[in-house]
Amino acid sequence: MSEFQQSQQAEQAGNIEHPTSNIQHPSALATLSWIKHFFDYLGASREEPPPGASFLASPIWLGIWWGVLIGLILLFCGQTSKFIYIDF
C-alpha cells in the first residue's frame, strides 16, 4: 500500500486531525473560508461569489479585473529579456 493510500485511510478513520482544527476562533475560520471562496471565484473554481461580494459578478468588475490583469502581465513580462541597459 502506498504512503498516500495509508494517509487517506488514516484520515478516513479519524486518526489525523485537520490542521485547521487547531484554530480556536470560529470567526477566523469563517474569514479564511471567505477569503478562500473569494479567490476561488476570482480563479474561476466557483461559479458563485462569496456572500457580501456580489459586486464580483458585475460586468464592470469583470472588465476592471481583466483589464488590470492584462496590464500587469504586460508590465512584468519583460523579466526574462536580456535587459542590461538601463537609463539611470
Partner: protein, 341 residues
C-alpha cells in the same frame, strides 16, 4: 447577455488604452527619443558625426575631438549620435535621418568592436526592446534588413509601431527591473552600477570564452564574409553624400586586449576587415590599444570620462591628418600608413 459580454470588454479596452498612454508618456523620456529629438534639431553647421553603440556614446567626447583637430581653424563641428544597446540597423536609421536633416556632413566615424561589422542583422520580436525599439520608428527601412523582400515582415513592424504597449513595451520594464534589483539587494552588498547599467552585466557583451571568439572570427575569415547589409548601406549612404567614412576599432580594456585581441585569429580578422575597408574606399583606424590604463574604463568595455577625452583627442589628431589625404588609409598603433590603391 450582450451587456454581460460587452461591458467587461469595453472596460478592459479602456484600461489598455490608459496603459498605452502611460507607456507613450514613459517612452518620451527614453534615450532613443532624446536622440530622435537631437536628430531633428541637428545644428546646420554639423559636419562630423560619431555613430555606433554605447562604446561610441561613452567613448567619444566631441569637444575634445574638435580641440585636437590639428588643421588650424577648419575643425569640424562634431556630434555624438551613439546610442547604447543598438545594432548597425539602428545606426543606419540614425545616419539616414542625420543626412536628411543635415546634408553637409563630411565625416562619419563609426566605432565597433569584435565581429560587429559582419554580424547578420537580427530583428526578432524579443530583440527589439530598449533602444533597439528605434527600429519601430522607421518600420519600412528596418524591415528591409530584418526581413528582406517580405511584405509580412514589414507589415508586422508597421502594426507594432502603432501600439505603444508593443513598440515601446520596454519603457516601463526598466522601472520594474530597477524595483526588482532593489528587492534583490535587500540584505546583500550593493552591486556597482554606471550610467549604462550594472557593471558586472557588461561582461556578457564580450565573447563567452576564447574558443567561441576564435570560432566566430574563423567563420568570418574563412568564408571571406563581407560587411553586414546595414553597414554596407551606411557606407553607400555616406559616399552618396560625399562624406568620408571611418571605421574605428574602439579602445578595449587591457583584459579584453590580452584575452581576445592578442590571439592570431584577431590579427587575421583585422586584416580581413582592413581589406574589406579598402575595397569600400573606407578608412580603418586601429584604436583598440590606444587606451592602455584599466583606470580609463568604467567596466569591461566602456571608456570613462577621462578615457573618452584621451581617446577623442587622439582620434581628432589622427583623423585630421588622414582627412587631408585623398586615398583611403590604414592606421595601426597611431602610426599612419597610406595605401595608394
Amino acid at each position: 447577455m450582450k451587456r454581460r459580454l460587452f461591458i467587461p470588454i469595453a472596460i478592459a479596452l479602456v484600461i489598455l488604452l490608459a496603459y498605452n498612454l502611460l507607456i507613450a508618456h514613459a517612452a518620451k523620456k527614453t534615450q532613443r527619443r532624446h536622440l530622435l529629438s537631437a536628430l531633428n534639431s541637428l545644428p546646420p553647421s554639423t559636419d562630423c558625426v560619431f555613430l555606433g553603440n554605447s562604446l561610441i556614446e561613452a567613448g567619444c567626447d566631441a569637444h575634445a575631438f574638435e580641440l585636437a583637430w590639428s588643421r588650424g581653424d577648419s575643425a569640424p563641428m562634431a556630434v555624438n549620435l551613439g546610442l547604447g544597446a543598438t545594432t548597425p540597423v539602428e545606426h543606419f536609421l540614425i545616419l539616414k535621418r542625420a543626412f536628411e536633416r543635415q546634408a553637409k556632413i563630411k565625416y562619419v566615424i563609426y566605432g565597433f568592436f569584435d565581429d560587429q561589422l559582419n554580424a547578420a542583422p537580427d530583428g526578432v520580436w524579443q530583440d527589439l526592446i530598449g533602444n533597439r525599439a528605434f527600429s519601430y520608428y522607421f518600420p519600412k527601412e528596418a524591415a528591409a534588413f530584418y526581413t528582406p523582400h517580405s511584405r509580412l515582415g514589414e507589415w508586422r513592424l508597421e502594426m507594432t509601431q502603432k501600439l505603444p504597449m508593443l513598440a515601446e513595451r520596454s519603457s516601463l520594464w526598466d522601472r520594474v527591473e530597477l524595483f526588482r534589483r532593489q528587492l534583490d539587494e535587500i540584505g546583500m552588498p550593493k552591486q556597482k552600477v554606471n550610467r549604462f547599467g550594472r557593471v558586472g552585466d557588461f561582461n556578457a557583451l564580450e565573447a563567452k570564452d576564447v574558443p567561441s571568439f576564435v570560432q566566430r572570427c574563423d567563420a568570418i575569415v574563412e568564408a571571406r564574409k563581407g560587411f553586414s547589409a546595414p553597414l554596407q548601406a551606411m557606407i553607400d549612404l555616406a559616399h552618396e553624400h560625399g562624406a568620408k567614412f571611418f571605421l574605428v576599432e574602439m579602445p578595449m580594456s587591457p583584459k579584453h586586449l590580452q584575452t581576445f585581441y592578442s590571439l592570431p585569429v584577431w590579427a587575421e580578422m583585422r586584416s580581413h576587415l582592413q581589406s574589406l575597408a579598402r575595397e569600400q574606399q573606407v578608412s580603418y583606424v586601429t584604436a583598440s590599444d590606444w587606451v592602455t590604463e584599466a583606470t580609463n574604463f568604467e567596466d569591461t568595455v566602456h571608456l570613462n570620462e577621462s578615457g573618452a577625452r584621451f581617446f577623442s583627442a587622439r582620434l581628432g589628431t589622427t583623423l585630421s591628418q588622414m582627412s587631408s589625404e585623398p586615398k583611403n588609409q590604414l592606421v595601426a598603433n597611431g602610426k599612419q600608413t597610406v595605401r595608394q590603391d
